[in-house]
Amino acid sequence: MTAAQQSPSTSHPAQPLNVIVATDCGSTTTKAILIEKVGNEYRQTYRGEAPTTVEAPFEDVTRGVLNAIAEIEELSGRTILDGDRIITPNQASQGDPKRGVDIYVSTSSAGGGLQMMVTGVVQNMTGESAQRAALGAGAIVIDVLASNDGRLPYEKIERIRTMRPDMILMSGGTDGGAVTHVVEMAEYIAAAEPRPRFGSTYQLPLVYAGNKDAQPQVNTILGKKTALEFADNIRPVLERENLAPARNKIHDLFLEHVMQQAPGYKKLIEMAGAPIMPTPAAVGVIMETIAKREGINLIGVDIGGATTDVFSVFGGLFNRTVSANLGMSYSISNVLAEAGLENIMRWVPFTIDEQTLRNRIKNKMVRPTTIPQSLDELQIEHAISREALRLALIHHKSLATGLKGVQQERTISDVFEQRTSGKTLIDLLKLDLIVGSGGILSHAPRRIQSMLMMVDAYEPLGVTTLSVDSIFMMPHLGVLSTVNEQAATDVFVRDCMVYLGTCIAPIGQGKDGERCADYEVALPDGRIDKGTLAFGDLKLFSLTRDQQATVTLQPSKQVDLGEGPGQSFTRTVKGGVVGLMLDGRGRPLQLPTDQAARVAMLTRWYQAVGLYPKGS
């Protein structure tokens, strides 16, 4: 269970929840949705959005919330606000059904989110466990300090002094093991006298979740210098992680200390009928729920303005990472810096000089709330998002691993397999579903654009279903699920999750135009579509979510669909709003380096699936 699921909620009103307003205060935009009970089920009915107002002149997050809700008022004709107050409960029983809501809930990643520093003893053991605990709680991990991280003691102390995290998580040592290294780290933290980012008068929250035998010493060293809290050891024995208690404690401290310091949060907390949840924690709740309910492996992504969060559930194991400076507005320039101009340009279906592109990207960085007005601007943003998604997945793969340093039991059948501990859990061939969320994916003018952005960035192998959050409301539903499970589920199924379709991608490479596989698609109307998928081809078949098609592929001898090279493959797949896509572009995907050839190839792909309006 995640921290979010366990977090205490305030007492819920006795009357049923028929009208709910939820907001997500993002770093760029505050999104509000209205959920109403229609008959026996809940539906998302109206939405509004407004710039997040943590900046001058307001410096008060509730202003953006009220603005976004005011948009809902205008669109729905419902009176929700009485000045700066949300009218609760709904006044239906007083004969005024269009006045008030029953509850207001919110998530937030404004204020830069929760920035944490974590410490462990061994970097790729307790250090990584601590990182996973913090990431799972919705934090951005700004540094991982460990006894063996290669830095000299004074460098560690300097680092703690200069980074100014919102919170520190300390781990290290198994219960009953040696205490020296953890105590040493506590001494470094004490010597650094860390100050929190916000507020000069409150103490820095610090969660100690290491060897429980070291608690008294840690208390002596840090008790007076920090707001110290203890949680169960996150690695009580070498072979097991116990992340939930630390995650819960982080969440509680975030609400009690950190969020209170951000502009306007005290007011927001008072307005809300349930604890404010960090946005990534709320999205994590939804991702875990989908995977559990369907019994599948999934990768979820929430690409925001400042960060890109990646979630995965493989074999029931949940992981989350945040790439703190990969995003589409505040961090857009960092995507350019990290990916490099060439990598971005490889997705742009026209030529543009470097200076113009650089200036445009920087202008988006300094004015992050703007939207692409022309098609070429949209195509540039889509190119950048592919790179942000790709880089964030690489980051995720490196952290979503099995426990490191643990001796594995091996049988005779493993003798020839070179398996190491700490191997990434992300196996794209075993991936069932990719879920996309965030402005660039949720608000793409054509759904195929969201699908191809994710396919190009993740290069799924074999058969993979793709879906997208229809209007970016997963955070709202995550927090709502802690208050009313049925409302969250109803809206999620009916209004939130849009299945895009299925992508079938053979593994292998060949020359453009060469045979990749012969295909036979048995469509639900009885038609059978047969043909050859050549390398470099993208084929799209119309197939809705409630339809199924049986696909048989006979790949050429060097091509694999998960059954082995050259082995025939048959699978029944579902469609979606985009349909069934056969991706014959090869894996790994390779684009021509010559500019004219690349533009021609991109144009061919984009036209094959109707990515953009004709004539572009």
Binding site: P57, K362, I371, Q373
Partner: protein
Amino acid sequence: MAHSYTPGLTVTERMTVRRRRILPLPGSVLVQVGDAVRADTAVARAELPGKVVPLNLANQLGIAPDEINDYLVKKEKDSVQKDDVLAENKPFIKWFKTEIRSPITGKVESVSTITGQILLREPPRVLELRGYIDGTIAEVHPEQGVTVESTCSLVQGIFGIGGETSGELVMGVKAPDQPLLPEQLNPSMKGKVVVGGAFLSAATMARAKELGIVGLVVGGIHDKDLRALLGYDLGVAITGTEQVGFTLILTEGFGTIPMAPKTFALLSAHAGQKASISGATQIRAGVIRPEIIIPHSGPAAVTKVAPAEREGIQLGDPVRIIRDPLFGKIGAVSGLPSELRAIPTESEVRVLEVRFPDGTTTVVPRANIEVIEGA
């Protein structure tokens, strides 16, 4: 859309600003409410704790950590000079004596019998906080700092680099659409803040550095020149600590973009006066924009400053288009249709109509304009 809100940059001839000057850690405040201060007046002082140097005595003496107190010559909180003996053993044979000497001058911060470590700390470094603007102390925050108030002209930029500085305002060009060229800079501009027009090249920046110009204010620059100036590609807009020789403020954005006529006229009107400028930019929550503050002469009356209130975009508001293809164009709001409109990307968005000075109009997404605020 009474509540719709679009953030904008303030360009105003007269307003009262308050700037909180807060120490990074508790210290002492050196002024009182009502005191007149100048930009370079020290208003508060703090002692930044010195660097910490850890030494593992137990290892060096070859003893158990819980024995180290028996070997210490200096105790916790003792002052030490460099090379003072911190700990020593007492062998039977004097030649085998081991002495651990202090690598620094400072004091003994802590001694740990668990890790066998001793932490030494260097003497604190005094940090003096300056007033930043000429004005009056409006508030004292005990142990933390002050709020300085000033009646001034204010120009907010969109992006900047470099820290706080001040100097006389000098016009480097005659019109807002002229680029600032190297030959327009001269030695008399040393220590001054030079205002350019539409563009500033790398060569002009190099010349400014050479001449000792403290600040440059200009419409736009090329990103590649910024990269060359900084020596790296700026990933996120969190700036203010760069040390490139001057403080740079862009009023419009990246590219060749004429400075807004209102901004240029205001700065021109104050040429010869002292300005306080800061390039610090933080385009995240708690946004900080770079600014040019030109204090008006005479002490400011200490009055309560009413928080800014905007009632959203109104017809006639001066606006700047902040996205291609019309990036940088300035006009006035001439229509506020409430229904969503499809734009060339096929997105359906809220739009507004802008009328340009030549009488032509265009429709742009509301997200792509910025109100030029300030009377």
